[in-house]
Each structure stands twice: as C-alpha cells, then as structure tokens.
Symmetry: C2
Subunit: 361 residues, 2 copies
C-alpha cells in the first residue's frame, strides 16, 4: 500500500481514526493468486467469505473464476443468497440455526451444501430438508490432526455416509478436510480408506475439499481433492506472513490509527485497542505491526487503546501522527467493523459494507 | 439467571445459537448497587457506557440516580446525544474524531466534557470549540500507576491546566483518575499536590473523577473526589469475579450456545468462538465459564468454535445441548453483537439494540 501523507489526511478528514482500510489493487492481486494456485492444480476454488463477509468481494472472487463460496454461519449464507450467490458450502455443524427454522427457510430458496461430523447434525439436516421439501447435500467433516471439528477415523466417516444414504431427504455430497500443514500424508491415508468404504456403500464423493490459506504451500498434494477453500488470502495478515504464505506487500487490510498520547520516551498510545484490532495473538510478538515504525511493539491493549513499547524505535512516533497497523488476524479485525474504506494507491475509491458482520447464527 | 429448559427452547427457536442474553432483574440490581455505593460516599455516579453501548440502559442508569454518563468514543457520545442524554464526559484524548470535524459538530449540539493528557489534544479541542463557537470543558487525565493514558506527574497536570486557562475557548473542568486498586494512597498524594498547584493558578477542579468497577472496593477513599465512573458493573464477568467485586449471581450477560460436536470423550465443541466471546483472557483459565458444566474448560477458539476440554467433567455435555457461557470480559463480548436478548426469569421480554457498537471513532 502506498500510504502517503495525502491519503492519511484524506482518511482522517473524511472518517477520523481508527479507520479500517483495504487496498483494492492488493485485493485483486490476492484474488487472482488464489485462483491461479487452484487452476494450476486442477482444483475448484471455493473461497471462504468469513474473512471479508462482503457480497461485493465474494462476487469479485466469483468473477475471477471461483466456482462458489464457503460460509461458516447460516447468517453469512443468507446475506450471500440475498446478493444472488447460490453455490454455497456451510462448513460447520449447523444446530443453532437449524432449530430456529432458518436452515429450512434458506434451503427452500437454494440447495445448500452443509457439513456434519455427528448423527445429531444429520438429523437436524433431515428435518430441515423435510420442512423445505428439498433434498439437502450433506458433506462429512473430517479431522486429520487439527483437533477442531470433524470425525477422526474413516470408519466414523463411512458410518455417517451410511446414515445420509439411508435418508431420502439427504444426498451424500463429499468430504471436507482442513489438513494441518504437516498432515497431508495422513490426510491422503484417511481419504484412501474412506473412499474404499464409500465404494462398498456404492457412494462416491463428488466434492473432496481441502482448506486454509496456510495450506497454499500444500495445495494439490491430496490425490482425489476436487476443490480448495481459503479465506484469509484475500487480505492476509501477520499470521499468514508468519506461516510463510504472504509478504507485507500482500497485506491488503490496514487500520489507520492516531498516536493520541506518549506517556514517556519509550511509550506511545494508539486510538485502536482490543475493540478494533482484537486480542488474537497466536504466539506472535505484540498485537500488530506499525508500517511506519516496524520496531514499535503493540505490547497490550485497553478496549480503545493500543499501548506501544518504543524502546527499540530510532524514530518514535509523535502525538498526532497517523500510523498504519497490520493486524495479527485479519478475519477477526474485519469482523469488528461495519464498513471497509477501499483505496487504490493514494485515492479513496469506495466504501464496502461488511454486510455479514455480526451474523452470529 | 434462572435458565430453565423452557427458556433455552424459546431462545433457540426464536433466535438460534449462539445468542447473547441479559437478565434484566440482575441488570437492575447491578445498577442500583453502583448507585448505592456512590450515594453512600457522597459521590456522583457517572457510569461508563462502553460496556452496554445502549441508550436504553444508559437511561435506566440515569433514572436510578446517575448524574450523567462516560463515553470512550465520540461516536458513542453521538448515539447518546441523539437519545437525549446531555451530561457526558468523553474519557480519552480525542484526535481522530476532532480532525474529522465530528467533535466540533457534537460540541455545537451540547457542551461536552473532554479529556487530555497532552498539548496536541488540547489544541484540537480549542479548534473544535472555535468551530462550534462554544466553550469546551476540558479535564486532565492523570495516570497514577496503570501505565495507560494520563500525565504521570502533578507538574505536568498543572502545566496543561495553565494552557487550558490561557485559552478563551476552553474551560478547565477537573481531573480524571483511574487508580490501580492498590494505588489510592499514591493517587491522594498526586491530587493533593495538583490541587495546590491549581490554587496557585486560581483554578479549582469542579470534577475529580475516579474510575473502574474493580475499584468498588476502594470507592470513596480519595479525599476530594466528586464522582465515580464504572462500566462493567452493569453486567459483570469472570474478570470482575476474579477481582472480588462480583459473584456468579451478579453476572447479567450470558451467551447461550449449542454443543455442536464432541470429538472424543474428553472434548466438546461449542458454536461460539473468538468472533462471539473474543480472545480476551487476562490471566484467567480458558475463555469463559459454562454454567451447566463448571469443570469444562474452553481451552481455545476458532473464529466460530469454542473447544472444550472435558477431562474434569463428571457429566459431559452432549451434542445438541444448549449451555450458557459467562465471558471473561463482557465489554468486548457485547461489542461483538448488534442486539441483546433481554429476559426476566424464564421469559424473553425485550430485544435491546447495542446502538453504539462499532463506533470506532
């Protein structure tokens, strides 16, 4: 991002600080890169919209070649369907929304692809499909080492596939993986065994999905995969730099923030705190990087303040300076705000609503 | 909170999960307690609305005897002024909003009380007051050990008071303290010295404000204090329990969440993650307490999942169960959501918008 004084003035005069900004030139470059990585391996690209939560940006991804999108919440999917997007995987067990009737209501509008790792979720999907009078595609989420959601053995996956097969309102649609970066060999073993089991049930997995921006380094390594879903890569952040899949120049999202106080020669205070940048740390030093002062450390937060340790700075920021911060974790930072200010070079060009922000269910 | 199965059913059928809920009976009890603590010490009560961000709840506090409110952001103050509240301290250096013209615009509508710990902020206030053609009340923020914002010596405070005195568009209104729980003696010394210096300038502090719910244990200990501002006490949370100023029965805010997966005998997965409960930890074990399973530990988060360690549970939650979570830090958790579901006993009685959520500037 070419952050000139002119741009900073224009941001603060029009919006004040802190102000969440995205550079559309970098966004476009990042979208093309994800598409190219998938194309090169013959994989469908199904970006996860949890990072941007914006139908405008989802449509840019689809225009660039994405076959559909991934959502994490039913509320996100509702927003995307409202905007005309219809090929959607919801990549989680949906219980809270199914019992509220909203899953059935959305299934009536489009045929969703949902995920399960247990019979209770499958039962909820069956009920929603009955209510919607429309067969629902169900994928099985598999855990090959992350210890997040997902069945942990091929035999569990096959048992769930059998339940789906036996239900006339459900259609077995495939498998969802999020392999650990060092777990792709194990994932291949899991898939091979599961595939054999599915064949004995006369089932085949139309979709075999891998996930994660950190897995850009492994993309295409699973023989049998049909598509990849990555979210963070549209903006990138310090976690992705730390994972080795992005550089500072690939970070499209920055928070413009004012230095509002100093508190001594080695301290400084920003007007962005945990309610803007969030407390996500993931083992990184501090809570974000200041582009203008790479040796400054955001040591801790109050809700609306970031406390800088400037001991290692040659050239300390002064009260009134505007500085730009790349967050540790962009997905949660974007989730704090209702809109993103879009720039190209030094010009403000658009305001993009984070339409699916706050969709808890 | 009397969480019956009936209430849980009603929450999930009407809203799904995760769902942020406040118990109005507890809220009212907490509001009365804060007022009583201030009344007993002859202090004005000026609650900090950063915790609830709701004009409806701010007006309940005023109806209960609060003399005005405290805000942390100009955007929060704008929302409160729109709702008819006019006695407002903004308890921070306001640079980002003053340069956008919004400070002057709000000053034109009501006479604000703003805070500064440096001459740059005071300069910005002077400019805004000129633009608004209305004298602005300025308080000096003093740091007596928290190492947050605030001047660190009485002489700095007095020097800033002189600058304010010399500016015809500014009025010196007093001092703002947030003493550490063990720093009230030091704060008394700071205030005594500052008071003498102010007298030599022929100034007096109309407002001497102390702050913090954790300081309920010290309220009234500063001779010369005129009012107290506390935020978290309206809802309370695990941090306040840990600080010894609240019990579990005083926690008005809970997230109703579904167990959506298990992943083995000693694991469980909630549909509330860092985008709902936030990563704020403050040295506590885990990321929230499950009322139904006090021995379950929310060990880590994904954005939309909470990962439970159930090793110490006698009676593990099952997939499909609805459980209630008290967060570590309620102020940031409320800031994630657009509305709070209000209950009394087992009945849903209202939906309260978090109107000032997302007001970054």
């Amino acid at each position: 991002m070419r952050g000139t004084e002119k741009l900073k003035q224009s941001i603060i005069e029009n919006f004040g600080t802190p102000c969440p900004v995205i550079d559309l030139d970098i966004v476009e470059k990042n979208i093309k890169r994800a598409q190219r990585l998938c194309d090169e391996k013959g994989l469908g690209n199904r970006p996860h919209i949890k990072t941007h939560k914006s139908p405008i940006l989802a449509k840019m991804q689809i225009a660039s070649g994405a076959k559909g999108i991934t959502c994490q919440k039913l509320g996100e999917a509702e927003v995307m369907v409202d905007a005309g997007i219809t090929d959607i995987i919801i990549a989680t067990n949906i219980l809270g929304a199914s019992r509220s009737g909203r899953l059935a209501a959305l299934q009536k509008r489009i045929g969703l692809k949902v995920c399960a790792d247990n019979p209770v979720s499958i039962g909820a999907y069956s009920e929603a499909a009955h209510t919607a009078e429309r067969v629902m595609d169900v994928m099985i989420e598999c855990d090959t080492g992350q210890k997040r959601a997902g069945v942990e053995t091929p035999s569990e996956a096959i048992a769930l596939a059998q339940i789906i097969k036996d239900d006339p309102m459900l259609n077995f649609a495939g498998l969802l993986f999020y392999p650990p970066c060092d777990g792709w060999v194990r994932t291949q073993g899991f898939w091979n065994q599961t595939k054999a089991g599915l064949e004995s049930l006369e089932l085949s997995a139309k979709i075999v999905s891998t996930g994660g921006t950190p897995n850009f380094q492994n993309i295409g390594q699973l023989d049998g995969a049909t598509e990849h879903r990555a979210g963070t890569c549209i903006f990138n952040d310090l976690m992705m730099i730390n994972a080795g899949v992005a550089g500072l120049e690939d970070c499209a999202f920055q928070v413009f923030t004012s230095v509002v106080s100093r508190g001594g020669w080695n301290r400084g205070i920003l007007d962005a705190g945990s309610k803007t940048l969030t407390s996500d740390q993931f083992g990184l030093e501090g809570f974000g990087r200041l582009l203008e002062h790479p040796n400054a450390v955001i040591e801790r937060f109050a809700e609306e303040h970031g406390f800088l340790n400037l001991s290692k700075c040659q050239n300390e920021p002064q009260v009134g300076d505007i500085v730009r911060v790349i967050p540790n974790h962009v997905c949660v930072a974007v989730n704090m705000v209702d809109q993103l200010i879009a720039i190209r070079g030094d010009e403000i060009v658009d305001i993009i609503p984070v339409t699916a922000r706050g969709k808890l269910v």
